[in-house]
Structures are given as C-alpha cells and as structure tokens.
C-alpha cells in the first residue's frame, strides 16, 4: 500500500528515506528522487509558491502510485509533495520506490515523477524581484509520458 503525503510543512528527505527503507523487509533496492527549489536563470528567486487542488491531489497521487505498483514488481512506493510557500534550497517533494530488482525500482520512480509532473494538480509560481510568474508546463514533460504509454 503506497504512502501519499501532501503537506505545507518542510520535511527532512534523509529521515524520510530512512523511514521508507527501514520498513522494507525483503526489497534490496531503494530508489529516491528529491526535488529542491532551485534558483531561476536570473538568479533572484525569492520564493516559490505551490498551489494545489485539495482532494484531487491526494486522489491523483494515489492513482499514480497504484499504477506504478501494478506495472512493476514493487514492494512499496512513497510520494510526499509540499504546497504553499518555500524558499531556495528547500525540498519541494520526494518519491521513493522499493523492489527486489533495481531496474524496477528505477523505472517506477521515474514513472512516478513523469506522471506526477503533468498529472497531479500542482501549480508553481516563482516570486522574483520582478514580481510573480506562473511556471509554464514544458513540452518535454508532456513528452516524457509518451514512453510509458507503449508498454512500460
């Protein structure tokens, strides 16, 4: 049963990785992805604000995680995503997967990220000294989904 957490609070990615790995009994391979607020090209990011759709967010993430559990031989999966305001260097989100086989753990983690990027209802806004701007969806994020659609 995948664990899904949606929260405004900061979290400790290392503590979360230990917590996730620590509950695996027989899965030797654990993969994690962490997303960190990085500065924008102009170098003056003050903060990032993430809006989400309470209710749908949790449903969408659970659906994505269930789909990963069905597609690969996974022992467990974990998704944590923050919303609200966060500063440069703060951790935005994290996914983790556990499997007996490293290829499954890697593929499932990448699948979770690709789907989460374009199918979970989060919207990022960057606050710089020039003002606030919504982050635009990138074509390559939509393209990333296509490879999972012709057999994982």
């Amino acid at each position: 049963m995948p664990e899904i957490i949606v929260q405004a609070e900061t979290f400790d990615m290392g503590a979360m990785l230990n917590r996730f790995a620590g509950r695996q009994v027989n899965a030797g391979a654990v993969v994690s992805f962490s997303g960190i607020v990085r500065d924008v090209a102009t170098g003056d990011l003050n903060a990032m604000e993430i809006e989400h759709y309470p209710g749908m967010t949790e449903r969408a993430l659970a659906k994505i995680a269930d789909e990963a559990m069905d597609r690969w031989s996974l022992a467990d999966a974990f998704i944590l995503h923050r919303h609200g305001r966060m500063g440069p260097g703060e951790t935005i989100m994290m996914v983790a997967t556990a499997s007996r086989h490293r290829a499954d753990a890697f593929a499932a983690a990448e699948f979770l990220m690709d789907y989460l990027k374009s199918r979970a209802p989060f919207w990022k806004k960057e606050l710089t000294s020039d003002g606030a701007a919504w982050v635009e969806a990138r074509d390559e994020d939509e393209d990333a989904l296509s490879r999972w659609q012709s057999g994982g």
Partner: protein
Amino acid sequence: MIELRYFAWLRERVGTGHETVETEAATVADLIEELKARDEGYAFAFSDTGAIRAAVDQELVAFDAPLAGAREVAFFPPMTGG
C-alpha cells in the same frame, strides 16, 4: 447546481477560486462556452482553451466529457508539480 473551481492563473483571471452555477450544459465544452458568454473577464480567462485542463469530480477529463450527475468541475492550466 455545479460547484466550479479555478486554479493558478485561471483563478486569478476569473477572479475567484470557486462559485456555484446553475447550468444546462451537457459537456465540459458547453460549460466553457456558457462561461465565456458571461463577460469579458471570463472570455479572456478561457480564450486559449488549449492551455486549459478540466476535471470533473476530481478526475481529469477531455472537453467532450458529459456533465450529467457532476457535482464539481474544475478548470486550470497544465500542471507543473514535481
């Protein structure tokens, strides 16, 4: 009675995050046309439907999705999480 929800720049353009409407619209596309006909603010907000996504009862849908029985319809830009 359908609860409408708006997110991100669509929310900012519409000027509210949610409202309740009476509608006879059969599909999401029909509902969008109804909203655009309301006033210039809505017409502007929904002018580029290629940049808008819709969810019915918290499930992503295509614009030809029927609204029969729907309680909540949400409109928003492409998602940018992760």
